[in-house]
């Protein structure tokens, strides 16, 4: 008799998908955008409930749905980050959408669907479920990128993202089919156990390279980063905040699981690729951002360089490296959410402004806002005692541990270069003569987001142990035996 598959560990995923559809139905029957705000808050509740479900199931390794999905400590950690990123983004979008006249209930629903895809990516245990998760993530993202559909910039961003995203998905799929052809399986467990350097064929390596390229597109690592600045600039700001956190974290989680777990025994084959794109991302991310005038573009390049740093952890391919990535992503999430919520407050005469010079003298017109952005900038630059220092600390620790000395030296040198443009924003806010003040009334929910993220970044130095300890346990689950 056919037994039912073990689907219990996949319950959070199903819950999230179900709530997305329920909210969609609710929105349709409640006549559109009159209920946009309520649906957004319900979506946040659904995301938080999913966090509770995921953590409630524990971090024991369980394979479900005929080996398609896996839940383990690593997956739980990354899923929680993604869910938090999505929840923050929805909260940040509420008032923005109302002001820009695009307060539609579809927005939170689309974000929920994309988040479902991300959770699937994180817990994928098979190249097929990986691809389904990836596409489930991508399609809603294309739509939210062009959510301000009457603005050419936004539509352009969505279109660009779609074309390049489809290209990268194609490459990934091609790589996956090559892997299947030469290894005879798409299951990560089987791949991890059966692959061996001595029996490996060149076709498999080509397949791995294509998979890596596809994933590098998704995390926007150089040289597959070209879409990032344009999309980040064009997309509505809360969407950019979302793009720079949740999908990036999910794609990086996937990258780590595929490389370190499924292809872990072939580390000698892929390590140099990862090192090369890591170095290129750090260099380009830090040098290209110097001349940016638009703060969203600057954040795009900044996110490229941060991906470069976290890829150092992947290049190490060790538990210490994965731990570094986990810590990095957790802190990066709060830094980016915080920085983008300040950017969302950059509003003058009812219109959004995005140039760095618009921040001039913010320390005098809005001291608290300036102090918060200053904290995020110093933290992104990695200056202690702020949290951003610890994220880099654990990455470089992993690099030294894996004897990747030159990678570490390059990393710290580029971090000094990138320091220049982060600190330049502090300079504009604190040293320059004030520009006209921004509009008041940033909203209570925005204040809460700012308060939470500032507190996390500032106070992390006092209680680092819980996060680091959890990351330590989570990273160990990728390395059985």
């Amino acid at each position: 008799m056919q037994t039912l598959p073990n689907f219990l560990p996949a319950l959070p995923l199903m819950f999230l998908a179900g709530s997305a559809m329920a909210l969609l139905i609710l929105g349709v029957f409640q006549h559109g955008h009159y209920v946009a705000r309520e649906i957004a808050w319900l979506a946040v509740v659904a995301l938080i409930a999913t966090v509770a479900l995921i953590t409630g199931f524990g971090s024991e390794r369980q394979v479900s749905l005929y080996g398609m999905l896996v839940t383990d400590g690593f997956g739980v950690f990354m899923s929680v980050l993604v869910l938090l990123g999505a929840a923050f983004s929805i909260v940040m979008a509420i008032r923005f959408n109302e002001r820009e006249g695009v307060a539609r209930f579809e927005f939170p629903v689309l974000v929920l669907l994309a988040t479902t895809g991300m959770l699937m990516m994180i817990t994928a245990n098979d190249l097929i479920s990986l691809y389904i998760g990836l596409e489930l993530q991508n399609l809603p993202l294309y739509v939210v990128a062009s959510f301000q559909r009457d603005q050419t910039r936004s539509s352009e961003a969505g279109l660009k993202y779609f074309v390049l995203g489809a290209l990268s998905s194609g490459m990934l799929l091609y790589g996956a089919s090559l892997v299947y052809g030469f290894a005879g399986t798409t299951n990560f467990d089987t791949l991890a156990h059966s692959l061996d350097v001595s029996t490996m064929s060149i076709g498999l390596v080509v397949g791995i390279v294509f998979v890596a390229v596809g994933l590098a597109f998704k995390v926007s690592a150089v040289p597959f980063h070209m879409w990032t600045p344009d999309v980040y600039e064009g997309a509505p700001t809360p969407v950019t905040a979302f793009f720079s956190t949740a999908p990036k974290i999910a794609a990086l989680a996937l990258f780590v699981r595929v490389m370190v777990y499924a292809f872990g025994s072939l580390i000698d084959q892929w390590q140099q690729i990862i090192m090369a794109i890591s170095v290129a991302s750090m260099l380009l991310g830090s040098f290209a951002a110097i001349n940016q005038r638009n703060i969203k573009r600057l954040m795009a390049y900044s996110s490229i360089s941060h991906v470069g740093y976290s890829l150092i952890g992947l290049a190490a391919g060790t538990p210490a490296g994965v731990r570094g990535i986990l810590v990095y992503m957790a802190i990066y999430l709060f830094m980016n959410i915080g920085a983008f919520s300040v950017i969302l407050c950059m509003r003058r005469d009812g219109k959004m402004v995005e140039n760095i010079q618009d921040l001039a003298g913010l320390a005098r017109t809005r001291p608290m806002l300036a102090a918060a952005l200053g904290v995020f900038m110093f933290s992104l630059a990695g200056v202690p005692p702020l949290a951003g220092f610890f994220s880099k600390f654990y990455i470089f620790m992993a690099a030294i541990d894996a004897r990747l000395f030159w990678l570490a030296v390059l990393g710290v040198v580029t971090s000094v270069v990138s320091c220049y443009y982060y600190v330049r924003i502090v300079k504009v806010m604190y040293f320059d003569e004030p520009a006209p003040a921004f509009d008041l009334g940033i909203g209570r929910e925005m204040q809460a987001v700012l308060l939470i993220s500032t507190a996390v970044i500032l106070l992390f130095v006092i209680f680092p142990a819980p996060l680091i300890g959890t990351a330590e346990m989570a990273s160990a689950t990728l390395f059985p035996g």
Binding site: V383, P384, P385, V412, K427, F431, A465
Partner: protein
């Protein structure tokens, strides 16, 4: 008393002051006044606490005292570990002593954003005291790097016309140096499995690694000291910084490098330090002679004193790497003396700058006539900077030169030329400002020292003379620790030589 967490209290008390300043509300003038008083009282209480540390410090012990440990990152053997010994004790005192002086010195000259200014200084005090107490590499690094943020803001917000350039130069220069040290710290971590300084000192590091690690730490400390040729950020930073910023920069920030050499570079990498000593001697001698000549050619008072700082710190690095007991004591006293004297000289510049708003030497002249008190004060610190016997500068220079002479006669010879040059540029500066005939009406109208300024200078003069006439009260507590350090270095060098011999 030994059981109290005295160090933690001293470190974090200024943050309590910051909290009180941040919650101030009301009219701008009231807020500014209250912020000044809160900052002053906080720093004075902190000074009292640090004097308690000195009072209860056992000068016959070489080991760390007032040790505090608390788990921080337990899985990684990274702990909140504090302690003081004879080497760090006086740097803590120097920081807490200069802070109230900085605050009083900015009482009237800082008029805008007083609240933020006082907060920046108090945060700086926390970081400075913390870094001298830290006995864990990561804790040390956090305090060491954290100093950049308040200093960057102090130069950038309250500085002179080219403040943005100088602030960036300061920040990026020192940041680049320090991140390399971070890699060194991580390498040590993987070598001994912990970032505890005491454990690293006890276990020692393999000779093969020492050179690389030494260079990584050197990159950071050499920029901070600053050694020639990475000193160029210093004159810019000094010229643009507000007076109190220069005081803390010259008084304490430069000592971070010298302290780092004595606390970390010498005991952890003795073999590498010994091998690279000729290299450092060369840089020090170039610094002493070259920057003295540069100082001789300056038209700007602050720039002149900034270059003289580089020269004086050259004597410190020379004495440090001579690695004899006398030379190390000399280097320590030289750092303390320079901390007080150069700080006082910057304050002297600040006094006339507040009145005439120019630092150009040629604008002044003949101040002895209408500012006799000022002329006297300036005279004391000029002579102390030159190293006249009876002042603190003499003790430091003499002991450093004496110790170096034993090791390398030529280095000592060139360094002595530097001290002659220092007499010439300082006296030349003094002559141009104080002596001569007053030609300008605005210079004639300048008032002599205000009682507040007298109150700043009086304790500084007292300490300069105390250190010069009876240096024993300063030397005695540091001697056991330095003796232990020298012994440790000698032992490591012997072991290394024996190991090399055995290989053959």
């Amino acid at each position: 008393m030994q059981n109290w967490p005295l160090l933690t209290l001293t470190i974090f008390l200024p943050l309590v002051g910051v909290f009180f300043i941040l919650v101030l509300r009301g009219a701008e003038a009231d807020v500014a006044r209250n912020a000044r008083w809160i900052a002053l009282w906080t720093s004075l209480i902190d000074l009292a606490l640090s004097l308690l540390i000195w009072a209860y410090f056992d000068p016959n012990q070489a080991d760390f005292q007032f040790v505090e440990t608390a788990p921080w990152l337990p899985g990684f053997h990274i702990a909140y570990h504090l302690g003081v010994d004879g080497i760090s004790l006086f740097f803590i005192l120097l920081s807490t002593f200069l802070m109230p002086i900085c605050i009083v010195a900015s009482w009237e000259s800082i008029k805008v954003r007083v609240k933020e200014y006082m907060c920046a200084f108090l945060v700086m005090e926390t970081l400075l005291v913390g870094l001298f107490c830290a006995l864990d590499f990561v804790v040390f690094y956090i305090f060491f790097e954290g100093v950049l943020i308040p200093m960057f803001l102090i130069i950038g917000i309250w500085g002179g016309p080219r403040r943005v350039y100088s602030a960036f130069k300061f920040f990026l220069y020192t940041f680049l140096g320090s991140v390399l040290m971070l890699l060194g710290i991580l390498a040590i971590y993987y070598q001994i499995g912990s970032t505890d300084v005491v454990e690293a000192l006890n276990r020692g590091l393999p000779v093969s690694l020492q050179t690389w690690l030494f260079l990584a730490f050197f990159a950071s400390f050499a920029v901070k000291v600053p050694m020639w040729p990475v000193h160029t950020w210093l004159p810019d930073a000094h010229v643009e910084a507000p007076t109190a910023g220069s005081v803390i920069l010259a008084g304490v920030l430069l000592k971070m490098g010298g302290y780092g050499f004595i606390r970390f570079s010498l005991p952890l990498f003795p073999v590498a330090a010994h091998q690279l000593a000729p290299f450092i001697f060369t840089l020090s001698v170039v610094a002493i002679i070259y920057t003295s000549l540069v100082a001789l050619a300056q038209d700007d008072m602050k720039k002149l004193i900034a270059y003289s700082s580089v020269a004086h710190m050259g004597i410190v690095t020379m004495g440090t790497f001579a690695m004899t007991s006398e030379a190390l004591q000399g280097a320590m006293i030289q750092m303390l003396s320079h901390g007080i004297v150069s700080a006082a000289l910057f304050l002297c510049v600040g006094v006339v700058y507040d009145r005439l708003h120019t630092r150009e030497i040629a604008r002044y002249g003949g101040l002895a006539d209408n500012m006799p008190k000022y002329a006297t004060v300036f005279m004391v610190f000029t002579l102390a900077s030159i190293g006249l016997p009876g002042t603190s500068g003499f003790v430091g220079e003499f002991l450093s030169l004496l110790g170096t002479f034993e090791i390398n006669t030529w280095v000592a010879f060139f360094a002595t030329i530097g001290t002659i040059l220092s007499a010439s540029y300082m006296l030349y500066l003094y002559r141009r400002i104080i002596f001569g005939v007053i030609t300008r009406a605005d210079v004639r109208a300048m008032l002599d020292l205000h009682w507040r300024e007298v109150a700043i200078f009086a304790p500084m003069i007292a300490i300069v003379l105390w250190m010069g006439i009876y240096p024993d009260s300063f030397l005695k507590p540091m001697q056991p620790s330095l003796a232990k350090l020298v012994e440790h270095i000698q032992l490591s060098l012997h072991e290394n030589a024996a190991a090399k011999l055995a290989e053959r």
